[in-house]
């Protein structure tokens, strides 16, 4: 039995200690948002936050988490709605198939929890680990910019 702290709730899970967090989130805890994309740390569709830092949950064995807090898209929602970043994605209609989107949202959360005034290059560099095959990039970037503004900041263009 391993205790995990996920979205402010303690969960006891019966899984082998080497199980990557992703499988536990999806199969044991029925949290759908994080997705299996590669299992190799190359696509970011499994991105969640561990203590506010984005990680590939496909490569984090649950035995390593200890008391660290895991946050997933499900944990961003509150009484008012889906949370600032997901709401921005919805407002920008930033999805085609949407398979990559939960990972995008969590990486964007990771960025905006560090700064709400990133530059455009920082934004793009920060999002670089996450892949989207549908080509939704322009809308995803727009959604993150919108979320930054909603949080009282904004993204500045810094490229010549």
């Amino acid at each position: 039995m391993i205790t995990l702290k996920i979205n402010d709730t303690q969960h006891e899970v019966e899984a082998e200690p080497d199980t990557p967090l992703l499988y536990v989130l999806r199969n044991d805890l029925a949290l759908n948002a994080a997705k299996f994309g590669c299992g190799l740390g190359q696509c970011g569709s499994c991105t969640v936050l561990v203590d506010d830092r984005p990680v590939y949950s496909c490569l984090v064995p649950i035995s390593s988490l200890g008391t660290r807090q895991v946050r997933t898209v499900e944990g961003l929602a509150n009484a008012e709605g889906p949370g600032v970043v997901p709401a921005a994605f919805e407002a920008e209609q930033a999805a085609q198939c949407g398979y990559c989107i939960a990972g995008m949202i969590m990486r964007a959360e990771g960025l905006l929890s560090r700064t709400i005034t990133p530059t455009e290059s920082e934004l793009r560099q920060y999002m670089a680990p996450n892949l989207c095959r549908c080509g939704t990039h322009m809308r995803i970037l727009a959604a993150v910019r919108r979320a930054a503004v909603a949080m009282g900041g904004g993204v500045k263009e810094d490229r010549p």
């Binding site: 082998e16 200690p17 080497d18 199980t19 990557p20 299992g39 190799l40 740390g41 190359q42 561990v50 830092r53 984005p54 990680v55 590939y56 496909c58 490569l59 984090v60 064995p61 649950i62 035995s63 390593s64 290059s121 680990p129």
Partner: protein, 420 residues
Amino acid sequence: MTKSRTVLSGVALILLFAGVGAASLLFRSALPAISPPAPDSFDRTLVKQGEGLAQIGNCTGCHTMSGGKSFAGGLALKTPFGTIFSTNITPARETGIGAWSRAAFVRAMREGVARDGSHLYPAFPYDHFTRASDRELEALYAFLMTRPPVEQPTPANRLVWPLENRWLVAGWNLLFLREGPSNDNDRGRLLAEGLAHCGGCHTPRNKLGAEDTAHAYDGAWTDGWYAPPLNATSPAAQPWSADALFAYLHTGLSKTHAAAAGPMGGVTRQLSQAPDADVRAIATYFAGLMKDAPGARTPLAAIDRQSEIDKSDPEGAALFAGACASCHAPGAPMMQQGRPPLSWGTPLRVDSPHDTLHVIVEGLASPAGPTGPTMPAFGNDFTDRQIAQIVAYLRARFTDLPPWPDLEQAVAAVRKGVGQ
């Protein structure tokens, strides 16, 4: 601190030499400024040759900032003596080398003196470039002078007192600058010791920062990374044949060794584009130097002591299985595709864990061009203790070598970006 003491004694020594040195060595004359020659005034074959040489020399490795314009400089190089910013070597008139004549360029390459007569710091390996021929320097000049000019000032260096006085370098030159032959019928050696300046990373340096030629290619530290020996003391598990080395230099990956990481990644990115014949010559030269290394004489079979180590270190085993096995376990995709087993990789076999730690904490970018091996960074995923556990497990499972001591501190050091 030993470092500052080293610097001070070095400075004393330099001052001594400077004192006795001829003023003509100390203070060099400025060479006249020219207006940048038109790019089409250079012969295209010469430019092309220069490009190959620039790739061999990995000029861009130091003279381009990450995300910056090519050859516009500004990259911070951390040395034991402080931080030096690389200079702008585009033909920009004000901030680059646009006003440099060929003579000024050749003097800088061979003697470490800028056009205005000031001394360059030996972080710029002019001690190696003495071995470049006139024709090669001419080609390099032609190549650089045909790049797009970028006006970008170089930030001021931050050096320990009193090294900001450039004339002190004259003493250093007196001590260490030896002109090597620029003709050598071993092309590989000529390039390795000359433009490619391999010793810059792989040869240990003395207290004054000069390469210790008595220990050429014994392995050394650069920027917190350990550049392994390239001679008979090579720790490689498998022979570095000329072919294997060529493949490695050319693609950043050897199927019997590992992928190029850290500063070497930048080198292979350049060599992947350099002329094959030159890269092959370098490979042949070093294969010769390493032919008597233990792994060359008796290649090591791949080691995997999984059943044993999984029992003795179940925590490490769980971390490995969850985080690393997706690529590195037998049967996993990388292994099915013929990537080298971990036990053949040099990083696990050297005396220091730093290279292994760097790769785990920072990940690995494709070492040659857009396609090639990559590895995600695990710095955010694990605590220092967990990374230390993983590395201890790797060393135990995939080598027959004694455990590394003080791993946790080493992780912390790598995270802070301080190496050896």
